[in-house]
Protein backbone atom coordinates (compact mmCIF):
# COMPACT_ATOMS: atom_id res chain seq x y z
CA UNK A 1 0.00 0.00 0.00
CA UNK A 2 2.79 2.38 0.94
CA UNK A 3 6.31 2.09 -0.39
CA UNK A 4 9.23 4.37 0.41
CA UNK A 5 12.46 3.97 -1.49
CA UNK A 6 15.63 5.73 -0.45
CA UNK A 7 13.75 8.72 0.95
CA UNK A 8 15.58 11.64 2.49
CA UNK A 9 14.03 14.63 4.22
CA UNK A 10 15.61 17.79 5.51
CA UNK A 11 14.68 20.94 7.36
CA UNK A 12 16.47 23.84 5.72
CA UNK A 13 19.46 21.76 4.85
CA UNK A 14 19.51 19.83 8.09
CA UNK A 15 19.06 16.17 7.20
CA UNK A 16 16.40 14.53 9.37
CA UNK A 17 15.94 11.34 7.35
CA UNK A 18 18.32 9.50 5.07
CA UNK A 19 18.03 6.42 2.91
CA UNK A 20 14.65 5.38 4.26
CA UNK A 21 13.17 2.35 2.51
CA UNK A 22 10.00 1.09 4.04
CA UNK A 23 6.97 -0.93 3.09
CA UNK A 24 3.49 -1.01 4.59
CA UNK A 25 1.22 -3.75 3.29
CA UNK A 26 -2.55 -3.64 3.15
CA UNK A 27 -4.13 -4.52 6.47
CA UNK A 28 -0.90 -4.39 8.46
CA UNK A 29 0.00 -2.50 11.56
CA UNK A 30 3.55 -1.32 11.09
CA UNK A 31 5.30 0.34 14.00
CA UNK A 32 8.19 2.75 13.73
CA UNK A 33 10.06 2.98 17.00
CA UNK A 34 13.10 4.85 18.13
CA UNK A 35 14.37 7.35 20.63
CA UNK A 36 13.59 11.06 20.72
CA UNK A 37 14.92 12.89 17.71
CA UNK A 38 15.35 9.74 15.65
CA UNK A 39 13.15 11.18 12.90
CA UNK A 40 9.95 9.30 13.58
CA UNK A 41 7.65 12.29 13.26
CA UNK A 42 9.55 13.54 10.24
CA UNK A 43 8.89 10.20 8.59
CA UNK A 44 5.14 10.68 8.93
CA UNK A 45 5.37 14.31 7.83
CA UNK A 46 7.31 13.21 4.78
CA UNK A 47 4.52 10.84 3.78
CA UNK A 48 1.88 13.50 4.51
CA UNK A 49 3.75 15.95 2.29
CA UNK A 50 4.51 18.38 5.08
CA UNK A 51 8.29 18.37 4.70
CA UNK A 52 10.38 18.47 1.54
CA UNK A 53 11.63 15.04 0.53
CA UNK A 54 13.82 13.34 -2.04
CA UNK A 55 13.40 9.76 -3.17
CA UNK A 56 10.28 7.80 -4.02
CA UNK A 57 7.09 7.57 -2.00
CA UNK A 58 4.33 5.51 -3.58
CA UNK A 59 0.82 5.24 -2.18
CA UNK A 60 -1.27 2.58 -3.88
CA UNK A 61 1.27 2.63 -6.69
CA UNK A 62 1.01 6.37 -7.36
CA UNK A 63 3.82 8.76 -6.53
CA UNK A 64 3.19 11.35 -3.85
CA UNK A 65 6.01 13.58 -5.08
CA UNK A 66 4.81 17.13 -5.55
CA UNK A 67 1.30 16.37 -4.33
CA UNK A 68 0.19 19.09 -1.89
CA UNK A 69 -0.57 17.94 1.67
CA UNK A 70 -4.32 18.45 1.45
CA UNK A 71 -4.49 16.32 -1.69
CA UNK A 72 -2.48 13.55 -0.03
CA UNK A 73 -5.06 13.59 2.75
CA UNK A 74 -7.83 13.35 0.17
CA UNK A 75 -6.19 10.34 -1.44
CA UNK A 76 -6.73 8.41 1.76
CA UNK A 77 -3.76 9.09 4.00
CA UNK A 78 -5.05 10.00 7.45
CA UNK A 79 -2.77 11.58 10.03
CA UNK A 80 -3.21 11.84 13.77
CA UNK A 81 -0.57 14.49 14.38
CA UNK A 82 1.81 14.59 17.29
CA UNK A 83 0.31 16.51 20.18
CA UNK A 84 -3.17 15.87 18.75
CA UNK A 85 -3.61 19.33 17.19
CA UNK A 86 -7.32 19.54 17.82
CA UNK A 87 -9.33 22.68 17.17
CA UNK A 88 -9.60 23.62 20.84
CA UNK A 89 -12.48 26.08 20.70
CA UNK A 90 -14.68 23.97 18.50
CA UNK A 91 -16.94 21.33 20.00
CA UNK A 92 -16.19 17.64 19.83
CA UNK A 93 -18.90 17.31 17.22
CA UNK A 94 -17.51 20.11 15.06
CA UNK A 95 -14.01 18.64 15.27
CA UNK A 96 -15.40 15.36 13.98
CA UNK A 97 -17.45 17.02 11.27
CA UNK A 98 -14.36 18.87 10.09
CA UNK A 99 -12.86 15.44 9.52
CA UNK A 100 -15.43 14.96 6.78
CA UNK A 101 -14.45 18.29 5.22
CA UNK A 102 -13.06 16.83 2.02
CA UNK A 103 -16.12 14.64 1.42
CA UNK A 104 -18.37 17.47 0.36
CA UNK A 105 -21.52 16.31 -1.37
CA UNK A 106 -21.05 12.71 -0.26
CA UNK A 107 -24.30 11.76 1.48
CA UNK A 108 -22.41 9.18 3.55
CA UNK A 109 -19.73 11.56 4.71
CA UNK A 110 -20.81 11.36 8.35
CA UNK A 111 -21.20 7.57 8.26
CA UNK A 112 -17.89 6.92 10.07
CA UNK A 113 -19.35 8.70 13.12
CA UNK A 114 -21.00 5.46 14.14
CA UNK A 115 -17.68 3.65 14.03
CA UNK A 116 -15.99 6.43 16.00
CA UNK A 117 -18.63 6.24 18.73
CA UNK A 118 -18.30 2.47 18.81
CA UNK A 119 -14.58 2.76 19.34
CA UNK A 120 -14.79 5.66 21.75
CA UNK A 121 -18.20 5.79 23.44
CA UNK A 122 -16.98 8.65 25.61
CA UNK A 123 -16.87 10.99 22.64
CA UNK A 124 -20.58 10.43 22.08
CA UNK A 125 -21.22 11.68 25.62
CA UNK A 126 -19.19 14.83 25.09
CA UNK A 127 -20.34 15.95 21.67
CA UNK A 128 -21.27 19.49 22.61
CA UNK A 129 -18.21 20.14 24.80
CA UNK A 130 -15.34 22.17 23.50
CA UNK A 131 -12.35 20.02 22.60
CA UNK A 132 -10.07 21.89 25.02
CA UNK A 133 -12.19 20.77 27.96
CA UNK A 134 -11.49 17.09 27.33
CA UNK A 135 -8.89 15.09 29.26
CA UNK A 136 -5.69 14.13 27.50
CA UNK A 137 -6.92 10.65 26.73
CA UNK A 138 -10.23 11.88 25.39
CA UNK A 139 -8.44 14.41 23.24
CA UNK A 140 -6.37 11.62 21.74
CA UNK A 141 -9.55 9.68 21.06
CA UNK A 142 -10.99 12.71 19.35
CA UNK A 143 -7.87 13.19 17.26
CA UNK A 144 -8.09 9.57 16.10
CA UNK A 145 -11.83 9.91 15.53
CA UNK A 146 -11.32 13.06 13.49
CA UNK A 147 -8.77 11.28 11.31
CA UNK A 148 -11.13 8.33 10.85
CA UNK A 149 -13.79 10.75 9.58
CA UNK A 150 -11.58 11.37 6.56
CA UNK A 151 -12.19 7.67 5.72
CA UNK A 152 -8.48 6.93 5.33
CA UNK A 153 -7.11 3.75 3.85
CA UNK A 154 -3.84 4.36 5.63
CA UNK A 155 -4.00 5.80 9.13
CA UNK A 156 -0.79 7.26 10.51
CA UNK A 157 -0.54 7.91 14.23
CA UNK A 158 2.20 10.05 15.71
CA UNK A 159 2.87 9.18 19.36
CA UNK A 160 -0.70 8.50 20.41
CA UNK A 161 0.49 7.63 23.93
CA UNK A 162 2.02 11.05 24.50
CA UNK A 163 0.76 12.84 27.59
CA UNK A 164 -1.94 10.41 28.62
CA UNK A 165 -2.25 8.12 31.62
CA UNK A 166 -0.83 4.59 31.27
CA UNK A 167 -4.17 2.82 31.58
CA UNK A 168 -5.54 4.80 28.66
CA UNK A 169 -2.50 4.01 26.54
CA UNK A 170 -3.60 0.38 26.46
CA UNK A 171 -7.17 1.39 25.60
CA UNK A 172 -6.03 3.56 22.76
CA UNK A 173 -3.69 0.99 21.32
CA UNK A 174 -6.45 -1.61 21.61
CA UNK A 175 -8.63 0.77 19.59
CA UNK A 176 -5.86 1.05 16.99
CA UNK A 177 -5.89 -2.74 16.75
CA UNK A 178 -9.65 -2.71 16.17
CA UNK A 179 -9.31 -0.03 13.53
CA UNK A 180 -6.97 -2.32 11.62
CA UNK A 181 -9.42 -5.20 12.01
CA UNK A 182 -11.98 -2.98 10.30
CA UNK A 183 -9.76 -2.82 7.23
CA UNK A 184 -7.66 0.31 7.77
CA UNK A 185 -3.92 -0.07 7.36
CA UNK A 186 -1.97 1.49 10.23
CA UNK A 187 1.43 3.13 10.45
CA UNK A 188 2.20 3.78 14.09
CA UNK A 189 5.01 5.90 15.43
CA UNK A 190 5.69 5.35 19.10
CA UNK A 191 8.30 5.87 21.75
CA UNK A 192 6.68 3.27 23.95
CA UNK A 193 8.34 0.27 22.48
CA UNK A 194 6.72 -2.55 24.42
CA UNK A 195 3.12 -1.49 23.93
CA UNK A 196 3.61 -0.58 20.28
CA UNK A 197 5.28 -3.86 19.42
CA UNK A 198 2.50 -5.77 21.10
CA UNK A 199 -0.09 -4.68 18.55
CA UNK A 200 2.18 -4.30 15.52
CA UNK A 201 2.83 -6.93 12.86
CA UNK A 202 6.14 -5.55 11.74
CA UNK A 203 8.39 -2.82 12.98
CA UNK A 204 11.22 -0.56 11.93
CA UNK A 205 13.75 0.83 14.36
CA UNK A 206 14.88 4.32 13.55
CA UNK A 207 18.03 5.95 14.81
CA UNK A 208 19.30 9.40 13.85
CA UNK A 209 17.33 9.44 10.64
CA UNK A 210 18.16 5.96 9.40
CA UNK A 211 16.49 2.60 9.64
CA UNK A 212 18.84 0.41 11.66
CA UNK A 213 16.67 -2.65 12.06
CA UNK A 214 13.47 -4.10 10.70
CA UNK A 215 11.51 -7.27 11.08
CA UNK A 216 8.54 -8.94 12.68
CA UNK A 217 7.40 -7.01 15.73
CA UNK A 218 7.84 -9.95 18.06
CA UNK A 219 11.43 -10.51 16.92
CA UNK A 220 12.32 -6.92 17.54
CA UNK A 221 10.59 -7.03 20.91
CA UNK A 222 12.65 -10.08 21.80
CA UNK A 223 15.95 -8.61 20.67
CA UNK A 224 17.75 -7.46 23.78
CA UNK A 225 20.31 -5.56 21.76
CA UNK A 226 17.64 -3.32 20.28
CA UNK A 227 16.33 -2.37 23.64
CA UNK A 228 19.70 -1.55 25.08
CA UNK A 229 21.27 0.11 22.12
CA UNK A 230 18.50 2.16 20.67
CA UNK A 231 15.78 2.47 23.21
CA UNK A 232 17.66 2.77 26.44
CA UNK A 233 15.77 0.01 28.16
Amino acid sequence: MLTMQDVAASYRGLKALQGISLEVGRGEIVAVVGANGAGKSTLLKAIAGQVATEGTILFDGASLAGVPPHMIARRGVGLVPEGRKLFPRLTVEDNLRLGAYAKRGDPNRFAPLELVFQLFPRLAERLSQRAETLSGGEQQMLAIGRALMTQPRLLMLDEPSQGIMPKLVDDILAAVSRIRDLGVTVLLVEQRLVEALEIADRAYVLQTGRIVMQGAAKDIAADGAVRRAYLGM
Binding site: A48, Q50, K85, P88, L98
Partner: protein, 327 residues
Protein backbone atom coordinates in the same frame (compact mmCIF):
# COMPACT_ATOMS: atom_id res chain seq x y z
CA UNK B 1 -26.24 17.74 20.89
CA UNK B 2 -27.39 19.48 17.74
CA UNK B 3 -30.05 21.15 19.79
CA UNK B 4 -27.66 23.19 21.89
CA UNK B 5 -26.05 24.59 18.77
CA UNK B 6 -29.40 25.13 17.09
CA UNK B 7 -30.71 26.94 20.14
CA UNK B 8 -27.67 29.18 20.18
CA UNK B 9 -28.09 29.93 16.49
CA UNK B 10 -31.75 30.77 17.01
CA UNK B 11 -30.84 33.07 19.89
CA UNK B 12 -28.35 34.83 17.67
CA UNK B 13 -30.88 35.36 14.88
CA UNK B 14 -33.34 36.74 17.40
CA UNK B 15 -30.63 39.02 18.79
CA UNK B 16 -29.77 40.13 15.29
CA UNK B 17 -33.38 41.04 14.50
CA UNK B 18 -33.76 42.96 17.76
CA UNK B 19 -30.54 44.92 17.28
CA UNK B 20 -31.43 45.65 13.66
CA UNK B 21 -34.85 46.96 14.70
CA UNK B 22 -33.34 49.04 17.48
CA UNK B 23 -30.76 50.55 15.15
CA UNK B 24 -33.45 51.25 12.58
CA UNK B 25 -35.49 53.21 15.11
CA UNK B 26 -32.56 54.87 16.88
CA UNK B 27 -32.12 57.93 14.61
CA UNK B 28 -35.83 58.76 14.38
CA UNK B 29 -36.04 60.91 17.52
CA UNK B 30 -32.59 62.44 16.95
CA UNK B 31 -32.63 65.79 15.24
CA UNK B 32 -29.10 66.84 15.96
CA UNK B 33 -26.93 66.41 12.88
CA UNK B 34 -23.74 65.85 14.84
CA UNK B 35 -25.20 62.86 16.67
CA UNK B 36 -26.78 61.52 13.49
CA UNK B 37 -23.41 61.64 11.81
CA UNK B 38 -21.75 59.91 14.75
CA UNK B 39 -24.26 57.05 14.60
CA UNK B 40 -23.81 56.64 10.86
CA UNK B 41 -20.04 56.45 11.17
CA UNK B 42 -20.34 54.01 14.06
CA UNK B 43 -22.63 51.66 12.13
CA UNK B 44 -20.46 51.93 9.03
CA UNK B 45 -17.38 50.95 11.02
CA UNK B 46 -19.28 48.11 12.70
CA UNK B 47 -19.86 46.76 9.20
CA UNK B 48 -16.26 47.37 8.12
CA UNK B 49 -14.93 45.72 11.26
CA UNK B 50 -17.16 42.70 10.63
CA UNK B 51 -15.82 42.56 7.08
CA UNK B 52 -12.28 42.60 8.52
CA UNK B 53 -13.32 39.96 11.05
CA UNK B 54 -14.03 37.49 8.25
CA UNK B 55 -10.34 37.39 7.39
CA UNK B 56 -8.69 38.63 10.58
CA UNK B 57 -11.01 36.90 13.02
CA UNK B 58 -12.49 33.71 11.66
CA UNK B 59 -9.58 32.88 9.37
CA UNK B 60 -6.99 34.32 11.76
CA UNK B 61 -5.03 36.29 9.14
CA UNK B 62 -4.33 39.67 10.68
CA UNK B 63 -4.49 42.18 7.85
CA UNK B 64 -3.28 45.70 8.51
CA UNK B 65 -3.79 46.78 4.92
CA UNK B 66 -7.54 46.90 4.62
CA UNK B 67 -7.41 50.63 3.84
CA UNK B 68 -6.45 49.45 0.36
CA UNK B 69 -9.79 47.70 -0.18
CA UNK B 70 -11.67 50.51 1.53
CA UNK B 71 -10.03 53.16 -0.63
CA UNK B 72 -10.20 51.24 -3.86
CA UNK B 73 -13.89 50.59 -3.25
CA UNK B 74 -14.45 54.31 -2.80
CA UNK B 75 -12.53 55.15 -5.96
CA UNK B 76 -14.23 52.44 -8.02
CA UNK B 77 -17.79 53.60 -7.37
CA UNK B 78 -16.83 57.27 -7.63
CA UNK B 79 -14.89 56.97 -10.87
CA UNK B 80 -17.46 54.69 -12.48
CA UNK B 81 -20.00 57.38 -11.72
CA UNK B 82 -17.91 60.31 -12.93
CA UNK B 83 -16.35 58.69 -15.99
CA UNK B 84 -18.94 56.13 -17.06
CA UNK B 85 -22.14 57.39 -15.50
CA UNK B 86 -22.80 54.26 -13.50
CA UNK B 87 -25.09 55.16 -10.61
CA UNK B 88 -23.36 54.68 -7.25
CA UNK B 89 -26.17 52.41 -6.06
CA UNK B 90 -24.80 49.90 -8.58
CA UNK B 91 -21.26 51.16 -8.05
CA UNK B 92 -21.38 49.68 -4.55
CA UNK B 93 -21.52 46.24 -6.04
CA UNK B 94 -18.80 47.04 -8.54
CA UNK B 95 -16.70 48.19 -5.58
CA UNK B 96 -17.42 44.88 -3.87
CA UNK B 97 -16.29 43.00 -6.96
CA UNK B 98 -13.15 44.99 -7.65
CA UNK B 99 -11.94 45.07 -4.04
CA UNK B 100 -12.76 41.39 -3.64
CA UNK B 101 -10.81 40.49 -6.76
CA UNK B 102 -7.98 42.79 -5.71
CA UNK B 103 -7.61 40.71 -2.56
CA UNK B 104 -6.48 37.78 -4.70
CA UNK B 105 -3.28 39.25 -6.21
CA UNK B 106 -2.56 40.76 -2.79
CA UNK B 107 -3.10 37.44 -1.06
CA UNK B 108 -1.12 35.47 -3.60
CA UNK B 109 2.29 36.67 -2.37
CA UNK B 110 1.26 37.66 1.15
CA UNK B 111 -0.23 34.30 2.15
CA UNK B 112 3.13 32.71 1.55
CA UNK B 113 3.96 34.41 4.82
CA UNK B 114 2.20 33.71 8.08
CA UNK B 115 1.67 35.30 11.45
CA UNK B 116 3.43 38.59 12.06
CA UNK B 117 5.15 38.44 8.71
CA UNK B 118 1.81 38.32 6.93
CA UNK B 119 0.61 41.33 8.93
CA UNK B 120 3.73 43.32 8.05
CA UNK B 121 3.35 42.45 4.38
CA UNK B 122 -0.21 43.78 4.37
CA UNK B 123 0.97 47.08 5.87
CA UNK B 124 3.41 47.41 2.99
CA UNK B 125 0.81 46.57 0.36
CA UNK B 126 -1.54 49.15 1.85
CA UNK B 127 1.20 51.77 1.69
CA UNK B 128 1.94 50.90 -1.95
CA UNK B 129 -1.72 51.43 -2.81
CA UNK B 130 -1.72 54.80 -1.08
CA UNK B 131 1.39 55.97 -2.97
CA UNK B 132 0.07 54.72 -6.30
CA UNK B 133 -3.16 56.66 -5.99
CA UNK B 134 -1.31 59.72 -4.71
CA UNK B 135 0.70 59.88 -7.94
CA UNK B 136 -1.92 58.68 -10.41
CA UNK B 137 -3.46 61.57 -12.33
CA UNK B 138 -6.32 59.55 -13.82
CA UNK B 139 -7.79 59.13 -10.35
CA UNK B 140 -7.16 62.73 -9.35
CA UNK B 141 -3.77 62.21 -7.72
CA UNK B 142 -3.21 64.06 -4.49
CA UNK B 143 -6.11 66.45 -5.15
CA UNK B 144 -8.66 63.65 -5.06
CA UNK B 145 -12.11 63.65 -6.64
CA UNK B 146 -15.31 65.53 -5.89
CA UNK B 147 -18.66 63.89 -6.42
CA UNK B 148 -20.88 66.62 -7.95
CA UNK B 149 -24.38 66.89 -6.58
CA UNK B 150 -27.11 66.01 -9.07
CA UNK B 151 -30.14 66.14 -6.86
CA UNK B 152 -31.49 63.81 -4.22
CA UNK B 153 -31.89 60.25 -5.37
CA UNK B 154 -31.46 56.70 -4.13
CA UNK B 155 -29.95 55.68 -7.45
CA UNK B 156 -27.17 58.26 -7.05
CA UNK B 157 -27.16 57.75 -3.29
CA UNK B 158 -27.12 61.50 -2.85
CA UNK B 159 -29.11 63.37 -0.28
CA UNK B 160 -28.69 67.08 0.26
CA UNK B 161 -29.06 67.42 3.99
CA UNK B 162 -31.01 64.38 5.05
CA UNK B 163 -28.97 61.93 7.10
CA UNK B 164 -31.64 59.28 7.47
CA UNK B 165 -31.17 57.64 4.04
CA UNK B 166 -27.46 57.25 4.75
CA UNK B 167 -28.29 55.76 8.09
CA UNK B 168 -30.36 53.04 6.46
CA UNK B 169 -27.72 52.52 3.81
CA UNK B 170 -24.94 51.86 6.35
CA UNK B 171 -27.34 49.80 8.44
CA UNK B 172 -28.13 47.56 5.47
CA UNK B 173 -24.40 47.24 4.85
CA UNK B 174 -23.63 46.34 8.45
CA UNK B 175 -26.54 43.90 8.52
CA UNK B 176 -25.24 42.22 5.36
CA UNK B 177 -21.80 41.71 6.91
CA UNK B 178 -23.38 40.38 10.10
CA UNK B 179 -25.56 37.96 8.16
CA UNK B 180 -22.53 36.80 6.17
CA UNK B 181 -20.59 36.15 9.37
CA UNK B 182 -23.59 34.35 10.82
CA UNK B 183 -23.94 32.09 7.79
CA UNK B 184 -20.19 31.49 7.76
CA UNK B 185 -20.20 30.32 11.37
CA UNK B 186 -22.33 27.37 10.41
CA UNK B 187 -20.83 26.69 7.00
CA UNK B 188 -18.16 24.44 5.61
CA UNK B 189 -16.04 27.48 4.78
CA UNK B 190 -16.39 28.89 8.25
CA UNK B 191 -15.22 25.64 9.79
CA UNK B 192 -12.32 25.36 7.37
CA UNK B 193 -11.25 28.93 8.20
CA UNK B 194 -11.34 28.36 11.93
CA UNK B 195 -9.35 25.17 11.37
CA UNK B 196 -6.77 27.14 9.38
CA UNK B 197 -6.59 29.65 12.21
CA UNK B 198 -6.25 27.04 14.97
CA UNK B 199 -3.82 24.63 13.39
CA UNK B 200 -2.57 24.59 9.84
CA UNK B 201 -1.04 21.12 10.11
CA UNK B 202 -4.21 19.54 11.40
CA UNK B 203 -6.36 21.35 8.85
CA UNK B 204 -4.15 20.06 6.05
CA UNK B 205 -4.33 16.52 7.33
CA UNK B 206 -8.10 16.71 6.94
CA UNK B 207 -7.83 17.76 3.32
CA UNK B 208 -8.33 21.51 3.81
CA UNK B 209 -6.51 23.55 1.17
CA UNK B 210 -4.92 26.23 3.35
CA UNK B 211 -4.00 28.64 0.59
CA UNK B 212 -7.34 28.69 -1.18
CA UNK B 213 -9.17 28.94 2.14
CA UNK B 214 -7.23 32.07 2.99
CA UNK B 215 -7.79 33.47 -0.50
CA UNK B 216 -11.54 32.95 -0.24
CA UNK B 217 -11.66 34.64 3.16
CA UNK B 218 -9.57 37.54 1.85
CA UNK B 219 -11.79 38.02 -1.19
CA UNK B 220 -14.99 38.10 0.83
CA UNK B 221 -13.45 40.35 3.45
CA UNK B 222 -11.93 42.68 0.86
CA UNK B 223 -15.17 42.81 -1.12
CA UNK B 224 -17.26 43.95 1.82
CA UNK B 225 -14.58 46.43 2.85
CA UNK B 226 -14.65 47.89 -0.67
CA UNK B 227 -18.41 48.21 -0.50
CA UNK B 228 -18.05 50.08 2.78
CA UNK B 229 -15.51 52.36 1.12
CA UNK B 230 -17.95 53.13 -1.69
CA UNK B 231 -20.67 54.02 0.81
CA UNK B 232 -18.23 56.23 2.70
CA UNK B 233 -17.20 58.03 -0.49
CA UNK B 234 -20.84 58.66 -1.35
CA UNK B 235 -21.51 59.89 2.16
CA UNK B 236 -18.68 62.41 2.38
CA UNK B 237 -18.85 63.40 -1.31
CA UNK B 238 -15.12 63.84 -1.71
CA UNK B 239 -12.24 61.42 -1.57
CA UNK B 240 -8.49 61.70 -1.85
CA UNK B 241 -5.76 59.22 -0.95
CA UNK B 242 -5.37 60.73 2.52
CA UNK B 243 -9.04 60.41 3.36
CA UNK B 244 -9.58 56.82 2.28
CA UNK B 245 -6.27 55.06 1.62
CA UNK B 246 -4.07 56.29 4.46
CA UNK B 247 -2.61 53.64 6.73
CA UNK B 248 -4.59 54.67 9.78
CA UNK B 249 -7.78 53.49 8.09
CA UNK B 250 -6.42 49.97 8.19
CA UNK B 251 -6.09 50.31 11.95
CA UNK B 252 -9.50 51.96 12.29
CA UNK B 253 -11.12 49.08 10.42
CA UNK B 254 -9.40 46.39 12.47
CA UNK B 255 -9.62 47.99 15.93
CA UNK B 256 -13.36 47.66 16.63
CA UNK B 257 -13.17 43.94 15.88
CA UNK B 258 -10.07 43.44 17.99
CA UNK B 259 -11.43 45.48 20.87
CA UNK B 260 -14.91 44.04 20.70
CA UNK B 261 -13.77 40.46 20.22
CA UNK B 262 -12.48 38.74 17.11
CA UNK B 263 -14.26 35.80 15.50
CA UNK B 264 -17.49 36.75 17.17
CA UNK B 265 -20.73 37.97 15.66
CA UNK B 266 -21.15 40.87 18.04
CA UNK B 267 -17.58 41.93 18.80
CA UNK B 268 -17.21 44.27 15.82
CA UNK B 269 -20.46 46.10 16.57
CA UNK B 270 -19.71 46.42 20.29
CA UNK B 271 -16.18 47.57 19.54
CA UNK B 272 -17.42 50.18 17.08
CA UNK B 273 -20.12 51.34 19.49
CA UNK B 274 -17.41 52.08 22.07
CA UNK B 275 -14.56 53.25 19.88
CA UNK B 276 -16.23 55.55 17.39
CA UNK B 277 -18.03 57.72 19.98
CA UNK B 278 -14.94 57.67 22.23
CA UNK B 279 -12.80 58.84 19.36
CA UNK B 280 -15.30 61.50 18.32
CA UNK B 281 -15.97 62.81 21.81
CA UNK B 282 -12.34 62.91 22.83
CA UNK B 283 -11.58 64.80 19.64
CA UNK B 284 -14.34 67.33 20.07
CA UNK B 285 -13.70 67.95 23.77
CA UNK B 286 -9.94 67.62 23.90
CA UNK B 287 -8.85 68.04 20.32
CA UNK B 288 -8.33 71.78 20.75
CA UNK B 289 -6.59 71.61 24.09
CA UNK B 290 -3.26 70.48 22.79
CA UNK B 291 -2.03 68.24 20.12
CA UNK B 292 -2.77 64.59 20.59
CA UNK B 293 -4.52 64.66 23.95
CA UNK B 294 -7.58 63.07 22.36
CA UNK B 295 -5.43 60.34 20.88
CA UNK B 296 -3.85 59.66 24.26
CA UNK B 297 -7.26 59.13 25.79
CA UNK B 298 -8.30 56.97 22.90
CA UNK B 299 -5.12 54.93 23.09
CA UNK B 300 -5.45 54.64 26.86
CA UNK B 301 -8.92 53.18 26.47
CA UNK B 302 -7.59 50.56 24.10
CA UNK B 303 -4.80 49.65 26.51
CA UNK B 304 -7.25 49.28 29.39
CA UNK B 305 -9.56 47.02 27.41
CA UNK B 306 -6.64 44.99 26.12
CA UNK B 307 -5.36 44.44 29.65
CA UNK B 308 -8.67 43.85 31.40
CA UNK B 309 -10.55 42.02 28.67
CA UNK B 310 -8.07 40.43 26.29
CA UNK B 311 -10.87 38.44 24.69
CA UNK B 312 -12.69 41.60 23.79
CA UNK B 313 -15.59 43.54 25.19
CA UNK B 314 -18.06 40.96 23.95
CA UNK B 315 -16.84 38.66 26.74
CA UNK B 316 -18.57 40.97 29.22
CA UNK B 317 -21.83 39.72 27.82
CA UNK B 318 -22.97 36.23 27.08
CA UNK B 319 -22.59 33.10 29.09
CA UNK B 320 -19.35 31.68 30.36
CA UNK B 321 -19.54 28.89 27.83
CA UNK B 322 -19.49 31.34 24.97
CA UNK B 323 -16.46 33.26 26.17
CA UNK B 324 -13.89 30.75 25.22
CA UNK B 325 -15.11 30.63 21.67
CA UNK B 326 -13.53 34.00 21.19
CA UNK B 327 -10.06 34.86 20.00
Amino acid sequence: MDNAILRRRKREVLGGVIVLAALALLPLPIKDVYTQNLIIITVLFAGLAQAWNILGGYCGQISLGHALYFGVGGYVSTLLYLKAGLPPSLGLFAAFGVSGLLALPVGWPCFRLSGHYYAIATVVVGEIGYLLFLNWDFVGGATGVFIPFHGESWAQLQFKTAKLPYHYLVLAFAAATWLTAFLLEGSRWGFAWRAVKDDVTAARSLGVNIFSSKMAAAALSGGFTGMGGAIYAQYVGYIDPDSVLAGHFSILIALPAVLGGVSTLWGPLIGAAVLMPASELSRSYLGGSGRGVDLMLYGGLIVIVALARPQGLVSLFGRKDDHARIA
